[in-house]
């Protein structure tokens, strides 16, 4: 019996691992096939995937819909920008070293307040707090540059071993930074996978599915939600930290409530009822948005129409729909 469970677990791990290895292989080889612009886009996609992955720990696994995750993305971005302004060293490792604790502390602080509520009140509370951060970033212009935002120059990577200046600096930076983000992306996925499959992750899902029953089991619900919020915010903040050197500039736009809406959109596009959904969603949304902006001046209209169609027709997202189709196919074959 025990052996059965082990082999079952091995098998359930083996197939996704094989698929993942194949995808990773393609991603590693990607820069030798495509032009710089495409690499840049994929990098943005990976960053969006990290943000959505963090967001989904809260929505998909804990059952809390945050409408204020722009705050953590923006706090990460602004933390880096302020480090550049006041502390000096243009090293990506230094950005991460300072940025991650800042984001974690802010997520812990704001999360501690937000998890006092659930459902719609949780959503509005996260929205209100993110708007506090937004209006501070907008109005305290002597610190944050106001609506002009703050510039972030290209950092050095890998402890200053790789630095980028001169004529080919941009292309080199994009390629190196792609690998840098890819490495962090892989670590983030593994980390999140371990979390959601740990007893802690199972407890979150139990709380999501039946709060009262979970409480009877002796779970400290609020604390679980708080820690989930903390991890979720930190992941999204990490995405902000990674995003800002690539974008070169951070403005209050990334703190505004509409950006939170985009994070929710991203996650739903991929599908929030499964682990891979937000990852697919991050990359799909980046491409969708880029091509919408490129093809029409009214890209927001297009995105809105896609979103409405999505929730009406494809509520489980891309991954949900694909896996359903796959299931049907395998049933037919059987």
């Amino acid at each position: 019996m025990k052996a059965d469970i082990v082999s079952l677990r091995d098998r359930s791990l083996l197939r996704p691992a094989a698929v993942l290895a194949a995808i990773l292989f393609v991603l590693i080889l990607l820069p030798s096939f495509v032009e710089t612009y495409q690499i840049q886009l994929v990098t943005y996609g990976l960053i969006a995937a990290i943000a959505a992955l963090g967001f989904n720990l809260l929505l998909g696994y804990t059952g809390l819909l945050s409408f204020g995750h722009s705050a953590y993305f923006g706090i990460g971005a602004y933390a880096v920008a302020l480090v550049v302004q006041h502390l000096g060293p243009h090293s990506m490792e230094f950005y991460l070293l300072v940025g991650i604790p800042v984001v974690a502390v802010m997520s812990a602080l704001l999360g501690y307040i937000c998890v006092r509520h659930t459902r719609i009140f949780f959503g509005i509370l996260t929205l209100a707090l993110s708007q506090v951060v937004y209006s501070l970033a907008l109005k305290l212009y002597w610190v944050t540059g106001g609506s002009d935002g703050l510039r972030v120059p290209r950092p050095t990577l890998v402890l200053g071993l790789l630095s980028f200046s001169g004529g080919h600096g941009f292309q080199q930076f994009i390629t190196s930074y792609y690998y840098y983000v890819l490495a962090i992306f892989v670590v983030a996925i593994i980390f999140m996978w371990v979390i959601v499959h740990s007893p802690f992750g199972k407890a979150l899902q139990a709380i999501r599915d039946n709060e009262i029953r979970a409480r009877f089991l002796g779970l400290r619900i609020r604390r679980f939600r708080w820690i989930s919020f903390l991890i979720s915010g930190t992941f999204t903040g990490l995405a902000g930290i990674l995003w800002v050197p690539l974008n070169g500039l951070t403005t209050p736009d990334v703190l505004y409530w509409t950006f939170s809406g985009e994070i929710v959109f991203t996650t739903l596009l991929g599908g929030f009822r499964n682990f891979t959904g937000p990852i697919v969603g991050g990359i799909a949304f980046t491409y969708l948005r880029t091509y919408a902006v490129a093809t029409t001046e009214y890209w927001q209209l297009l995105l809105g129409a896609v979103l409405v169609a999505l929730v009406l027709l494809l509520p489980t997202g891309i991954v949900g729909a694909l896996s359903k189709a796959g299931q049907r196919l395998s049933e037919r074959n059987r």
Binding site: L125, A128, L136, G261, Y298, L301, G304, V311
Partner: protein, 296 residues
């Protein structure tokens, strides 16, 4: 009248003006949430549509040589057109979501918000649309040596009338009874033979009408600009959160509090004025999640 008194009077009038518009937006938002349990993220955009339609109609009216007095009738027409949009939206987009999870309801209204924002850009372009002919049609009055446009008093009056009218409809008509019954227990109301679908359409239309009226009445004092709905929505959120989601009295009190804080904030602490509003909303949510008057 001393100068200080005059300044104070103008400030109070300004905050009443702001309060009227806020109340119109927030009352609609609150009504829709109270009856349908939907947080309408597109509500600010509906307010903006009201402003755009009215400004556009006024512009057309002037071009066609419509007498000045008749132009004022275009304000309710602008508001009614938003109500019409609501009548179309509710059965088409919202009805499939009442039985689904909140995430989907929020997202569909977010999608609607994106669509409406860009539709306005598509139809009316990026340049602000002005309707200040209406404001100039009314005299400018003197308040102790300070000049004040009489049109602003019309806005304040409209807000007050709308508040009374809405209160009368909800608490003193048969339709109001049906509305409150549906809001309290949708299934029981339906079981008693009430046409819940119709009540929902009407409630949503009234909510849209209020938002549209807010936009229509305010547009002569400023102009219809892109993005006005995005900002209006979050402030309206603050109002209903303070007052209590789903409460009419709450929307009124919330609007008064927010407009006073805003007017004082712009005067005394301009950098923190917005942050203070959101902080107040967050604090109220923490201490009393149902707001000052909410029961939800």
């Amino acid at each position: 009248m001393g100068e200080a008194v005059a300044i104070l009077t103008v400030q109070i009038l300004n905050s009443l003006l702001y309060c009227s518009v806020l109340f119109l937006i927030a009352a609609g938002l609150s009504l829709i949430f109270g009856v349908m349990r939907i947080v309408n993220l597109a509500h600010g955009s509906l307010y903006a549509v009201g402003a755009y339609v009215t400004a556009w109609l006024v512009g057309r009216g002037i071009a066609l040589g419509v007498p000045l007095g008749w132009l004022f009738l275009l304000v309710p027409v602008g508001a009614l057109s938003v109500a019409l949009i609501g009548i179309v939206i509710e059965p088409l987009l919202l009805r499939p979501f009442y039985r689904r999870a909140e995430e989907y309801q929020l997202l569909v209204t977010f999608g609607l918000f994106q669509i409406l924002e860009d539709l306005m850009r598509l139809i009316w372009g990026g340049t602000p649309l002005s309707a200040d002919t209406l404001m100039d049609a009314l005299p400018i009055i003197r308040i102790g040596g300070l000049l004040y446009p009489a049109y602003n008093l019309v806005v304040i009056g409209t807000g007050a009338v709308a508040a009374v009218a809405l209160w009368a409809v909800i608490y003193h008509t048969k339709f109001g009874v049906l509305l409150r019954a549906t809001s309290q227990d949708r299934r029981m109301a339906s079981a008693l033979g009430l046409n819940v679908g119709l009540v929902y359409v009407l409630a949503f239309a009234i909510g849209c009408f209020m938002a549209g009226l807010g936009g229509a009445i305010v547009v002569p004092t400023q102009a219809a600009v892109l993005g006005m709905g995005v900002d209006a929505l979050v402030i309206a959120f603050v109002v209903v959160v303070i007052g209590g989601l789903g409460s009419l009295k709450g929307a009124l009190v919330g609007a008064v509090i927010v407009s006073i804080v805003r007017t004082a904030g712009i005067q005394f602490f301009p950098e923190l004025e917005l942050a203070a509003l959101y902080l107040i909303a967050a604090l109220v949510l923490l201490v009393r999640p149902t707001g000052l008057f909410g029961t939800a």
